[in-house]
């Protein structure tokens, strides 16, 4: 019985590990892209000094990923960002979101 239980847990743990690692984005790969694509406007750490360009450092990762996907697909229309996100792969976009979300947060959920 114990053996059966521990086998069950092992299987569950494996499954869980696989499920979480499948979508894991790579912030360091993201940083390499940031230097090529994002830095000029948003800054290396995403905290742009230019009022027209949003700060991204510490922003919610899934929000950033969605915004980038929408720019790429055209669901969100912005001529500048369409040009930036368009050529990038889905993996690049996830990595960029992970990188920016991991930067020191200037942004907060302010009531």
């Amino acid at each position: 019985m114990n053996k059966a239980l521990s086998t069950l847990f092992a299987v569950l743990a494996l499954g869980f590990g696989a499920a979480t690692s499948a979508g894991a984005a790579d912030p360091s790969a993201g940083q390499a892209k940031v230097k090529e694509v994002c830095q000029a406007c948003h800054g290396l750490d995403g905290n742009s000094q230019t009022p027209d360009y949003p700060k991204l450092g510490g922003q919610r990762q899934d929000y950033l990923a969605k915004a980038l996907r929408d720019y790429k697909s055209g669901a969100r229309k912005n001529p500048i960002m369409a040009g930036m996100a368009g050529p990038l792969s889905a993996e690049d976009l996830d990595n960029l979101a992970a990188y920016h979300a991991a930067q020191p947060a200037v942004l907060v959920a302010k009531h």
């Binding site: 949003p54 700060k55 907060v108 959920a109």
Partner: protein, 138 residues
Amino acid sequence: MRGLACASRACVAKLDNRQSFKMPSLKFIAAVLALVAPGLAWAQGAPNGDTEAGARKTPMCAGCHGIPGWRTAYPEVYGVPKIGGQHSAYIVKALQAYKSGERNHPSMKAIAANLSDQDMADLAAYYGAAPARTASNK
């Protein structure tokens, strides 16, 4: 000026062959416009944001943007963006884009549709004001 000071025949001839009177170049016109345009924009008046007025206008915002870790439910599930500490100018741009339909999140479109330019400026001033670092960063 040279043309005005010039009375001799030689000068008239010079004017005739248009050495002294050149049409202003496009570059020059663009430069003048670039200098004048910000002044015009200011005169037409993007309203100045009032942080305190903005603080009184947040009930529609705080239910999502004021709750650390809050996630949208419709039409997609993802974390609501943090806007405390964002550039005020960018917040105004985002609200205008929702109002115009350029950005199309349903809730944000509905909320922005009812905001005046003054409301947007006030909210942007409130949220853009340097956040207390003690607030949640989640």
